[in-house]
Symmetry: C2
Subunit: 361 residues, 2 copies
DNA sequence: CGGCCCAACTAATACGTATTAGAAAGGGGG
DNA sequence: CCCCCTTTCTAATACGTATTAGTTGGGCCG
């Protein structure tokens, strides 16, 4: 800041001039490593001294242009991660990605441009910004498939947190084993004597929902219970779930509910409202288990029976997988499935033996 | 992924070949803007079509190498931001930086490499990684001055969140007005009749501490109270603050405490312990005000009288300042001071009229 | 018909680094 | 004294884009 004139950053050429060597020599010394032992010790020191004096630092863009890696991992989310109301849900993922990225010696690039929901796109502006990073971790429920397909087609290395499938390519991912977790939940309920278990399903037919559905059916099959498609309810509007409605279901013979939390938390909120209304007591009148973590874990809400994603661990695994991908010459998809943790909670219990007349439909 | 052979990303040259034009023309069409209206409409369409068909996306490294800017803002913290125990303190800064970065159309680069405390340095590996970004927001209490000096010397654009000074250069920053906030706090206590106000000062003599000290003295002066250097206590170990100790102080005539929270929260924890012990009642026996936010705001702790930093706002301002810096041809330092918000709380009250014999020292 | 200007394009170059082929110097063996 | 090898360095080039100066061809004016 001594003079106001625009100062150019020192380059290897400047160092070369000062040390009386060629730019190539500087490059060999600086980027060190393998080929640098063919440099005389005196020269090497001269170069390093000059670099020091000039305050040299490598131009990462140039380095990366040349084809080398630039030691950046990207994190791209299909939903905004930071807004406070979703903070508690996404934070562990963020935390895990950050930790493991650092542990692997990379820096983390958060793609945040154009948070305005509509424009939130990988391919905004004609430039695929993701490619500034060596590879990318992707996250989020509302995936735009075309973009994923394009990424796969371009052979860009990325790992999704959560199972995602796309036509015409294999996607690497770290996914929670919703199938087993859901099946086990059904098994637990069956062991408690439940026969008619209603599954409240998310509206969007994303992979996590498909997996839970598969787990539901598998659980029923393994418990020897019949499958009744009327017992899968897709909710367009979670507000439909009211005390009266739940009582109707109970009247029709349902003794347990499985609820799939959505990222907007409205279903869980509706169920909590039913709980507080006193119209239905969980688990005395009806058992209730959540197929995942409620996004907003306020701490004041009930301790629902549920299973829980190891989110920090998943995120760390995703980064590890990504780094492995980068080391491979050809990108073959890698997949990892991690088990969910069962949280006992207090909202399931034995199936009621018989119903009084007040429950008749 | 159709074939396992490594596929090269399409470049402007590929497009040019396909569209039967030159690379320069492609560049003009793609990067659009001003000079692109000298291109015939037919040509432009041909180029765009070819780009589309090839799935072109610009190489950001090359673009940035050429133009100098790559639309990245960096965030560098001198302490780890993510670890959960400091999460609540730093999160608002992170949030603000992220929001405003996105709003300004930049992406955010988190410098996380080498979180291992010792190696956590801007100049790790001989290359100043910060410079991958166009500019940088810095954050944290445990600053390494040499690094700041070097950054200034290199004329790298950055903004510190918090006032930081360094010899041989002007640093841009967004700072909370600790001076006024502290002075006002003293004024408040003086108005309540307090005459001997003990200031518990942080051990490290960083700028925030200097500002509070200045505010303390200014507040005393404006209230017409004498300055007594014995009333400034530097605590090497916050554990020294015990109920007995506070009673000693009270015995020596002190009627109010000003405490400067440290980022490890130990002082506030010690005071909370004193409060819980019942040995001293705040504010009946002694008034107590915090000169800032306790880092760990658990919600269960007392509602201390204090002032509070507009952290999200400060972070956003820092990003705005940074973007302004980038627009300037020559970097002149820019500074911004934002007021703190007074939080009444319940830990200050009128000075006790007289003391019983149990308080004598 | 010659000169000139304009529209539409292209050739050439710079950006900073990594890498490779090869040059220059020095030494040792025949 | 020549040849070859080793050590140590350099020249040249590629990476993909943006930009500037310049080229081409055609139309218009005098």
């Amino acid at each position: 800041m001594a003079s106001s004139e625009r100062r150019r950053r020192p380059t290897q050429v400047d160092i070369a001039r000062r040390a009386g060597v060629s730019q190539a020599t500087v490059s060999l010394v600086i980027s060190g490593g393998a080929a640098s032992d063919q440099i005389a010790e005196a020269t090497r020191r001269a170069v390093l001294t000059a670099a020091e004096e000039l305050g040299y630092s490598a131009n990462v863009a140039a380095r990366s242009l040349k084809g080398g890696r630039n030691h950046l991992l990207g994190l791209y989310t299909f939903e905004p991660v930071f807004p406070t109301d979703q903070r508690d849900f996404y934070y562990p993922f963020l935390l895990g990605v950050e930790e493991e990225t650092a542990a692997q010696g990379y820096d983390l690039l958060l793609f945040s441009s154009v948070t305005s929901a509509a424009d939130r796109s990988i391919y905004a502006g004609g430039a695929n910004r993701l490619k500034l990073a060596d590879g990318c971790v992707l996250l989020g429920r509302h995936v735009r498939r075309e973009e994923l397909t394009a990424l796969v087609k371009e052979d860009f290395p990325f790992v999704f947190i959560g199972r995602r499938e796309v036509e015409g390519g294999e996607i690497s991912y770290v996914a929670a084993d919703y199938v087993s977790a859901t099946a086990q939940m059904v098994a637990r309920l069956a062991a408690l004597g439940h026969r008619r278990i209603l599954y409240l399903r998310a509206a969007q037919n994303s992979e996590p929902t498909q997996d839970r559905t598969a787990g539901y059916r598998r659980g029923l099959a393994e418990a020897g219970l019949p499958f009744d498609s009327a017992l899968i309810r897709t909710l367009d509007d979670p507000a439909e779930v009211t005390g009266a409605r739940v009582r109707e279901w109970i009247g029709s013979g349902v003794t347990a509910l499985l609820a799939e939390p959505t990222e907007d938390d409205r279903l869980v909120a509706a169920l909590a409202a039913v709980d507080r209304s006193g119209l239905v007591r969980f688990p005395e009148d009806c058992s209730l288990a959540l197929l995942g973590d409620p996004p907003l874990w306020t701490g004041e809400s009930r301790d629902w029976t549920r299973f829980s994603l190891p989110r920090v661990g998943m995120a760390r695994e995703a980064v590890r997988l990504l780094v492995e991908l980068l080391a491979q010459p050809a990108h073959t998809a890698r997949r990892l499935s991690v088990p969910c943790e069962f949280v006992p909670g207090d909202s399931i219990g034995p199936a009621p033996a018989g119903r009084g007349p007040e429950w008749s439909a």
